[in-house]
Symmetry: C2
């Protein structure tokens, strides 16, 4: 499985001269993006593509290969895969479409048999394939000016739908998320979501696995795999086709027998998988799992310089089944002495003229209180007494690793700069208190 992401000798089969064609776009990923291994161009009509020698067949490549990327038309793919087998290649990514999903069952069967004959592991067909932010192996055939590739990180994303996967990868990148691996596995001919999840479970660079799934190839295998993996790292899953109508649409999309939403929810629960209910929630939950430490319990302490935010956060904490932390006697005494203008202890409202120093005191009280499990820090950067140095203070307290700290800030450019600063120092930031609390709930649950 590792070769799908970390192969060092890769053949790209079907590299067209036409810059808009799938094979060409993949080729350009290898040329432009600093792929860490060697790659070989296969094209049965050209001698060279943009200065790279082209081989008529993979059999002509003068090197041992550990991965082939197949981007030839479906009819030609059988012969190409057979040649891969003869070459001794054990991993192929077939991005080509036109098999069972278009009713070509005969072709589908022949491809399956060819793969079986040579014991080749295959991602696809009918998929976007894989992306690895570390090795720069990248079969996403969407141009980089339209779809930005994410930086190195610790999220991995297994996505049945290529469109959901690629657009969300693009969006998440623009929001500052880092990734380890991405895979869109299409028809799952002999590699399904469970195989990929199992592999990512062992991948040291993956801390959180995100999954968009319409239907599991094997429910039993899925349950067994996820149960084992979630002991080591969290899986966040979004199920497409939760309603009867959505489920019908899924059948036409990926041929998935989607199964009832309740069954999936039960499987997720049994397997320790954190189920989410929207694309937005998926990455919000993944972020807190990736960045924040595990809390001891569900008692949340809210600190704010905006009273309304404290109230909305309180509502959300209660509505998500968590508790408002009740400060210890020692902490209450400190609040009275050191923050005399603060009336309520949770949410601790530092008032509109709160200073960076006031935040430091409040943070110090909260992270040292045994009755507090999670600190929800609401910082509205609009007020002048909140100086940019607050970033250093929050980072300092977060680095003590006493309690998970989650920050909420809503605003424009000035706010964004400071938020991104905190994010890049490993602190999860959210725009809306309701969304932050929804994510924290999953952190507590895991």
């Amino acid at each position: 499985m590792d070769k799908f992401f970390s192969a060092k000798h890769v053949a790209i089969i079907g590299v067209s001269r036409d810059t808009r064609k799938v094979g060409h776009v993949i080729f350009r990923n290898f040329v432009d993006e600093g792929f860490r291994g060697k790659f070989y161009v296969v094209n049965n009509t050209a001698d060279a593509i943009l200065g790279h020698p082209a081989y008529k067949s993979v059999l002509d490549v003068p090197a041992r290969l550990d991965l082939a990327i197949v981007a030839v038309p479906a009819e030609a793919s059988i012969q190409v895969v057979d040649e891969c087998g003869r070459k001794g290649i054990k991993n192929v990514i077939i991005v080509t479409a036109g098999y069972r999903e278009e009713g070509n069952m005969e072709l589908d069967k022949r491809l399956e048999e060819t793969l079986k004959k040579w014991k080749i592991r295959c991602v696809g067909p009918n998929c976007l394939g894989t992306f690895d932010a570390y090795t720069k192996l990248d079969t996403l055939f969407l141009p980089r000016y339209r779809l930005r590739r994410p930086p190195e990180g610790r999220l991995s994303f297994v996505c049945q739908s290529g469109a959901v996967g690629s657009s969300i990868l693009d969006l998440a990148t623009s929001q500052g998320y880092g990734f380890s691996k991405f895979v869109s596995y299409g028809n799952a001919m002999n590699t399904d979501e469970s195989d990929l999840i199992e592999y990512l479970g062992k991948d040291s660079k993956t801390k959180v696995i995100c999954l968009y799934i319409e239907g599991a190839v094997s429910g039993k295998k899925f349950l067994k795999t996820c149960r084992a993996v979630t002991r080591r790292k969290p899986i966040v899953a979004l199920k497409g086709g939760r309603t009867e109508e959505g489920s019908k649409a899924a059948i036409s999309h990926t041929g998935s027998l989607a199964g009832s939403a309740d069954v999936y929810s039960a499987v997720f629960r049994q397997a320790g998988v954190l189920e989410v209910f929207s694309l937005e929630e998926m990455f919000e939950v993944a972020k807190v799992l990736e960045k924040a430490q595990k809390p001891a319990g569900n008692r949340i302490m809210a600190i704010t310089n905006g009273g309304g935010y404290g109230i909305l956060s309180t509502d959300a904490i209660v509505q998500n089944g968590m508790k408002l932390a009740s400060l210890s006697g020692v902490s209450r005494e400190r609040v009275r002495k050191e923050l005399p203008r603060v009336h309520t202890e949770n949410p601790m409202d530092l008032l509109g003229d709160a200073s960076t120093e006031g935040y430091k005191t409040a943070l110090d009280i909260a992270v040292n209180d045994k009755n507090v499990d999670v600190v929800l820090l609401i910082i509205l950067y609009q007020t002048p007494l909140v100086t940019p140095e607050i970033v250093d203070i929050v980072v300092e307290y977060n680095d003590m690793k006493k309690k998970p700290i989650v920050v909420v800030s809503a605003g424009g450019e000035f706010t964004e700069v400071l938020k991104q600063n905190l994010e890049s120092n490993g602190i999860p930031n959210y725009t809306y208190p309701e969304n932050a609390i929804r994510a924290v709930r999953r952190l507590v649950e895991y």
Copy 2:
């Protein structure tokens, strides 16, 4: 009431030389932002501030005044307001804090009596005051580098909490929302949310009223006012303090007797107010109400180039109690002939290689079908065959005003540019299908 937003002769009382002080920041708003009227600086110790002559008292200002902004300390405010009365000013905005909300009941009473004596209408005290994007009257005492001011638009925002109001105004501005008027009314001494809503109901520049409220000053007045206003324009309301715990926090915040969430929900329903449950939802709903035309019913037609998005949208449509539109016979015939690769009619999946031309055909079918009430257009701009010209086509169909069109696109910079293009042409855009559908539901309900 109009003077709070459109006054032409304004005194700013309490303009300090200290650039960090509230009065100075307000003064700078008038200097820097192109206020359309005349303003006069009042400062009892200086002769001039940054070249602007300063008057010792409002009584010394050599002009008739229709608004005074009061930014002196609470103790000095009584005399200042009394002088405003003697000067014949009938509207004051008192941003100063330190009255009942800090337990100073005696001062509070004296201020109230002084206002009554001179029949002065007051916004505040203890508030951020008002902002008008058209007249540039702007009492928000938060520096513009931290809090961007929005461009002219048709949303108005009444916000009990200054922090919620200002941070969300800043955020909404960075997201491209335009505003007419903003008001944070603080202690609501003699002008409350109902007065402001009533005024905005008659304001021709306000198309949608957003409201963040912890507790209404008078429930009866609120119900009566909203009922009348919602006949003319929508009100979108978020209630802070929906839980018992949140409600307790609200009492300490604005002294609001928050009342049970159920009571508020019932009042909102009776008054035709659209209740939302998060800050994020508030502006997502406001956007669709501002931009989209009223649909004839709740039958949604989804068009997509990403199958997974079609499925998630279908789930969301059903879960929000709306219907998947069922195409007419004529339309089905057109799909078969003109879009032969499309298998399912709703969601209409144009597939990953959908072109701009394909979208045009699908749009043409949808907007001309009598069985369709709303068109949900999912456009993933990552694929090369979706050319930027799609913006012109969507605008063209939207301008026909046959059906409301709502667009969903997730992605990075490339996507953002095209989304903003559609937005500025009056088409509501969303990142996530679930959020778009949640907003469309309110458009249908209103």
